[in-house]
Symmetry: C2
Subunit: 233 residues, 2 copies
């Protein structure tokens, strides 16, 4: 009988924003697999660590995030093969994920590869947009408002079209796209107030109105919250 | 010295989806105020209850959710006055909120009234769209996708314009708007796959593809997740 694959949302980075369910599962699950970028600190593994069982088996993978699509796909094929063998032997495998596993998470790559042959479940988590909204005390959505989340990696035309329809917009994966986004906002969204939030809930947390953010770029794990000025009242 | 107003996200309804931070604060805070609709069970109060300190002071308000805007505003003025007096006397007041306090939460009404004169903070929570996505094992957003959250209470034209730009759309506050939404989707979004999720994480949880949901309407706390078919691959 197959073991179960469990994606476990850890929340945005603050160790206190784990859910009770995430904590319980991290302590129960016999095999824990973490995936981190090959260019960044393995944050999910660090947050999960204090909650793991003493005799847990750890699998730590480093993803070639900046490689071409084919290389990345081959990497996830390989990870799915290794995890699939554990599942086939009847073991339950947990995958701790920053934020929510199904919200821009690499866990989706594993789910798509393993769900056809193994039972899978997901524990949702608090995401960075909600954490940033909380720290800024800035509502994401009032009663009849809409919220749009967009990756800053999309082309200008797609971003401008989205901004035209939303009361609140959140641009994730900001990083090196910031200079282009600044130009786009000046042109396509002059009526939005903008705040940048980086590393929310971590020791590296930084928050600022966009016009006071001096650096030309932002860390990769940054986001921009845009609220239409007329929506604020 | 003023006490602090603390909005505490409880997550979507599953008592295990509280964060460690929410649990800690619920146990520490001397005054807890809950706001429930006058026509529904006070769910937030029920979820918070097991975590409250033995000597906590409880304030329970019932909001006239279906009254006109003026009556609702007067209600929140009154609640803010009562809570403001506690804050002015130096006491910390926690407001447990289903989901996330700043995501369609009535806490926003209190924040807007009390933040000018009192310190305020917010603990973010897991929201219903993420909980539904987890139970359905349906990604909300893959790498370069956008997610749009829209209240089903908006007029057709606003909904159709939003649906035209998003890869995933989540319609919240579905309830009695379901018949109109069905007609709109058939016309404006035939390429979307649709799932309805109601009471996620509660004993009343129900999930179904929209075309297998037989009833004409849905409970108020229901949502619809729409994923563009071409985005699924």
């Amino acid at each position: 009988m197959s073991g179960e694959l469990v994606g476990i949302g850890l929340g945005p980075g603050d160790p206190e924003l784990l859910t009770l369910k995430a904590v319980r599962l991290l302590g129960e699950i016999p095999v824990v697999a973490t995936i981190a970028s090959d260019r960044a600190e393995p944050v999910a593994a660090r947050i999960a660590e204090p909650h793991l069982a003493a005799d847990v088996e750890r699998l730590a993978f480093r993803a070639p995030m900046h490689a071409d699509a084919g290389t990345r796909a081959a990497f996830y094929d390989e990870v799915a093969t290794v995890i699939g063998e554990k599942l086939a032997s009847g073991r339950r495998v947990g995958v701790p994920c920053l934020g929510d596993p199904l919200f821009y998470g690499s866990f989706i790559q594993l789910l798509e590869r393993l769900a056809p042959r193994h039972p899978c479940s997901v524990v949702p988590g608090v995401t960075a947009p909600h954490a940033a909204s909380a720290v800024l005390r800035l509502p994401l959505a009032r009663a009849r408002e809409s919220v749009l989340v967009l990756p800053a990696t999309l082309p200008d035309e797609r971003l401008a079209r989205g901004l035209a329809t939303a009361d609140t917009a959140v641009l994730v994966k900001l990083g090196r796209h910031l200079p282009r986004i600044r130009r786009l906002l000046a042109k396509a969204a002059p009526d939005f107030a903008a705040w940048i939030a980086s590393g929310v809930g971590t020791p590296e947390e930084r928050l600022a109105p966009l016009d006071r953010w001096q650096e030309p770029v932002a860390p990769y794990m940054s986001l921009l919250i845009l609220r239409r000025a007329m929506a604020a009242g």
